[in-house]
């Protein structure tokens, strides 16, 4: 059927059957739907499956490292394991979960839009993501095994002589597909946020989550085409006899590193910013306060986005051919807006009525874990320290603190928005058990790796010399990985246990933003009615007419005048 999109308008009575959508169900719905909520749900399920696959690979890696000379897997298998663990987690889980899954579902509803701007392009993004994931993972089933050159595919290790076989080509092909998927999602998010906001939803009234996704989308459009171009060059080097990255033909191997990290560092913020947005929403709602320093948050996010394009070569300090002071200064500068965000999160909680629900616990766990990862990142931005720790477990620990913080944020987002998407709450007790396993597991997992790195243990080795303490620290880290695995099991148990058990209602958290104004789950095209939008938290203003806040936290002189709906014939 053809849907003519009328913007939703407030009516006197909820007329819940005036816009029922009769579409296909089951597998046909999955294949043909252009509804952003259905596509977002497909993204969510696929991304969580990828998380489980990547996590299983990680558990095998940690099992191999429990003793110094273990032979659980061969060296070649170990190379495949850490390559595919990194690739699956970065390319197929965190990224698509950040800007494909929750963003896809929540952003249009937060700004009062009926759908994404390009619904069919949105569906295409999902299909490219799914086929890209299948392509990359099918490397395990071809002769020679999956890609084994590390998730960064440095030249000349990734050329056809050092890494022959179909696994590497499947890796390149899978990345081409998921790369285009990300680019299309970026286009879609930008167009949706620029053109489909509800009346009164000015740019500086958008929820922080939507702001962060806008900047993420711009970063996607800046960064991902560079990766796609680099992958095509790499493929040409491997198969068509070009010499872009090989010294023999006059090429420059370091050019691959420049191209890869020009995508790769913005990618770190493409992964992180959506989760920053999630925890901002969660902390504000569960502290029962508006976001502290709304505009400061927006400008901090914008400057992180801007700076992120000028820091790529801090991954390449030890190549000896990059401009150390420039990249060191730019990397250190990123600590400033990130610090502003950290203080604003604490300021939002400060003197609020903090409710430690599972989502809030996850958000606080995010703050602590991200702080550890962020502070060690400042060490690594300093070239003298980086020369000492480069390619050791210190770096591994640093970025695992960061990405485990993102996992905590993702889980918080699922507990916070899950009821909106499915209509049912998850069990809070099991959720808290999951949180403590995940949070303690993360610290037990990463902190020994910092020590290992400082004691000189190199990354990407299947066996290691029996230096004093190395084996014990590795065993502690493995225990942490097992705790994280248990938390994932707890999450699965929670989904099964809570299946359609606790109906959520429209607004279980007494939340702020527009998505909590509609039903759970929202109807086709999202809204039966919309409130007047007079601040960045319209749903709160509507539900608490005596406690509306004017723009950005200043108390309003004329309370109660902004909560009226517009009656429409």
């Amino acid at each position: 059927m053809t849907d003519v999109l009328d913007p939703p308008i407030a009516t006197e009575h909820d007329d819940h059957d005036h816009e029922e959508h009769h579409g296909p169900t089951g597998i046909l719905k999955w294949m043909t739907s252009t509804d952003h909520k259905v596509i977002g749900m497909s993204y969510t399920v696929t991304a969580v499956i990828m998380m489980v696959i990547g996590g299983a690979l990680a558990e095998v890696i940690r099992a191999q490292l429990t003793t110094s000379n273990n032979s659980l897997v061969s060296f070649a298998q170990y190379n495949e394991l850490f390559t595919m663990h990194g690739s699956v987690m970065i390319y197929l889980f965190v990224g698509p979960f950040a800007f494909g899954a929750l963003a896809n579902i929540i952003v249009p509803i937060q700004i009062g839009a009926p759908d994404m701007a390009f619904p069919r392009l949105n569906a295409l993004s999902y299909w490219l993501y799914l086929t890209g994931s299948i392509t990359m993972l099918s490397g395990f089933f071809v002769a020679g095994g999956a890609a084994n050159f590390g998730w960064v595919a440095y030249a000349p290790l990734s050329n056809s002589i050092n890494t022959p076989g179909a696994g590497a080509d499947l890796w390149i092909g899978g990345l081409l597909l998921t790369g285009f998927s990300a680019i299309f999602t970026g286009v879609n998010l930008c167009a949706t946020i620029f053109y489909l906001r509800a009346p009164g939803m000015t740019m500086f009234r958008m929820p922080i989550f939507t702001w962060n996704l806008l900047i993420t989308a711009i970063l996607i459009l800046l960064a991902f085409p560079v990766l796609t171009a680099g992958l095509i060059m790499l493929y040409c080097d491997r198969h068509f006899g070009t010499h872009i990255f090989s010294v023999q033909g006059g090429g420059v191997p370091v050019l691959w590193q420049h191209i890869f990290w020009f995508w790769g560092h913005p990618e770190v913020y493409i992964l992180a910013l959506p989760f920053f947005g999630m925890v901002t929403e969660i902390i504000a709602v569960f502290s029962r306060k508006p976001v502290f320093g709304y505009k400061g948050m927006v400008f901090a996010t914008l400057s992180i986005g801007a700076l992120s394009l000028g820091v790529w070569a801090h991954h390449m300090f030890t190549t000896g051919v990059v401009l150390l002071p420039f990249f060191s200064i730019m990397s250190l500068l990123i600590a400033v807006p990130t610090g502003i965000k950290m203080f604003n999160w604490i300021g939002t909680m400060w003197r609020g009525e903090v409710w430690f629900s599972t989502a809030m616990l996850m958000a606080v766990g995010f703050l602590i874990t991200f702080l550890i990862g962020g502070l060690t990142g400042i060490y690594l931005a300093s070239p003298p320290l980086d020369f000492f720790t480069h390619d050791t477990y210190f770096v591994v620990a640093h970025f695992h603190s960061i990405v485990m913080a993102l996992v905590l944020g993702a889980m918080g987002g699922l507990y916070y928005w899950g009821p909106k998407i499915t209509g049912y709450l998850l069990n809070e007790t099991i959720g808290k058990v999951q949180f403590w396993f995940l949070f303690i597991g993360t610290q037990v997992f990463t902190l020994p790796m910092y020590l290992l790195g400082l004691r000189g243990m190199p990354r990407r080795v299947a066996t290691y010399a029996l230096h004093p303490g190395w084996q014990f620290l590795n065993q502690v880290s493995t225990v942490g990985a097992i705790l994280i695995g248990i938390s994932t099991v707890a999450f699965m148990v929670n989904i099964v246990y809570s299946w359609k058990k606790y109906p959520a209602g429209d607004n279980p958290w007494d939340a702020h933003t527009l998505e909590w104004f509609t039903t759970s789950p929202p109807p086709h095209h999202n809204f039966y009615r919309l409130p007047q939008i007079r601040s960045e938290r319209p749903t709160w203003d509507y539900n608490h007419p005596g406690h509306t806040a004017a723009e950005h936290g200043h108390h309003h002189e004329h309370q109660g005048e902004h909560h009226d709906e517009v009656p429409v014939a």
Partner: protein
Amino acid sequence: MRTEAKVLLSLGLFFGVMSVVYWNWGHENAGSVMMFAGMLLCFVPGSYYYWWSRRMRARPEDDPNATQAQGAGVVGAFPGTSIWPFTLGMGAFFVVLALVFGIWFLIPGLGLVVWALFGGTAEGRRGGTH
């Protein structure tokens, strides 16, 4: 429209300044070109939005005092369901498999892509098939 333009133009300005500073300090080609291209990518849509923001009245979503009724009217016509994204995605999948396993995969791949392009375009013109 004004804020959207400002976001993109200020990002572009920053990338432009950075590419000049980086080129003069580091004399490194790849990064300078990529940052310069980043500036262009921000300036092209940003200047377009700025151009329009000076020529059109504020849209309801740019007006802080807009009522929901001001947004009334048809936004556009979209197909409620569509099989063509799936078809196009599978076509792209086979094209990529052709890069790995053999050129013959291009036959189903390009076939599905072309079919989806025609089907999707026709569907868009009609405003949907179902």
